[in-house]
Amino acid sequence: MSAEAPVCADDALLAPPGGHQMIAYLQKQAYTNMVPLNVSLELTLRCNIRCLHCYNFDRDTRGPACGDGHEAPELSLDEIHRVLGELREAGTLFLSLTGGEALSSPHLFPVMDRARDLGFAVQLLSNGTLLRPGVAARLASYRNLTGVSVSLYGATPEVHDSITQVRGSWRRTMDGVDRLRAQNIAVRLKAIVMRTNAHQVAAMRALADGRGLTTLIDVSITARHDGTDGSLAMRVTEEQVAELYRGPLADLAPKKDRVVSEAAFPCNCARGNCAISARGDVQPCISVPWVAGNVRQQPFAEIWRSSPVFQQIRGLKMADYPKCAPCPDKAFCSRDRSAAYNASGSYTGNDPFVCSVAGIARKVAEERTAAAAVSSAACGG
């Protein structure tokens, strides 16, 4: 069954054993009372690897510093400190620090210090390559660090490094993961499934299992925020999705018993979640660049409370999603807002690829049901 107030995977506290019910209760409270309990803060757009699927911008055509001289600078440390205070006042507890590569930001540790002093529970999202021994040990000193989510793009160096376009990155990522574990820091491997690594999904899961790590599988690849769509070439094909749902991702394929009620349809964005970009834009989600305001121009609380963008999102009903509302496959759909927004330019739009994936999920679920019926009849007969 679907939860009443879905939580974006990147914003969730890392798998607290036994704590899921409590987390679900808190998220529902935040959703109902519209408290920004979960905030993603993009520390920088800089990154030390050049992933082909990156949603920020095309890292092959623009410099690693990501600025071309025509855009606003990234938030300064003083600005981030001020924003953290505003988030605290607004009710935020769970803070996700992301990038670009968060560890490439000179502000990371001063921000971690301030976040600890203010009482935030912090999750770090990273590609893992900069987790040198001293860095992992330093992270372990933060009592408020709930864990690190590390992105993985393959089970072998050849596949992973072909996506990051940096030789040796897989080795450095896995070394970083092992250093975190050695420091008893919770690690979640976020396996991004793409056209060139789909054949390694089972191996990636085994890699995580072998280290006792939780895994998040993500097949969502979207167009980029700079308007380019070269990233889409990395998307899994429909044939690959079908193979994955019949095979290594069978346990994660949407099941038929999922109920999509009016209450369950909206996600937690703009109600219990939001994101702040490296340049201070406040968005419903870090991967949905629909700008509700900018913390350089307005206090966060004012944007959260009264921005027309957030008010519009909060007022949306299922019927406002013209393609989704009548869709017979919505029980099997991830309803990926990021893909929908980046494909259609509209928060209530759709991404035909996501629609196709939902159709495939339905077909696979029906096959499974039919097979179970045959098996049951054979046993009974």
Partner: protein
């Protein structure tokens, strides 16, 4: 006399009328009742059992002995959960 203070690194927040305290080490999420929430708030600064009991006496219409027992019970639970910083004699 022992003084107590909350571990300054433990994440916490108020949500509506409730106080949430998260312990990343144990992966536990605690929801405090009103008294525990008030004591947690007071423990932002070092305090003795007497200090805490006196502060609650100003706010609650209850016998001092009852308040003291409540303070001691709450401190015991917070200590058992590892949510208090090091304590020392004063």
């Amino acid at each position: 006399m022992m003084t107590y203070t909350r571990d300054p690194g433990v994440p916490h927040q108020k949500l509506d009328e409730e106080t949430i305290v998260v312990d990343p080490r144990t992966r536990e999420v605690h929801l405090f009742n009103e008294t525990a929430a008030r004591i947690w708030e007071l423990l932002a600064s070092p305090a003795t059992v007497d200090d805490l009991t006196a502060a609650l006496a100003d706010e609650y219409d209850a016998p001092a002995a009852e308040l003291r027992a409540s303070v001691e019970e709450t401190l015991g639970q917070l200590r058992d959960k590892g949510l208090l910083a090091s304590q020392g004699g004063a």
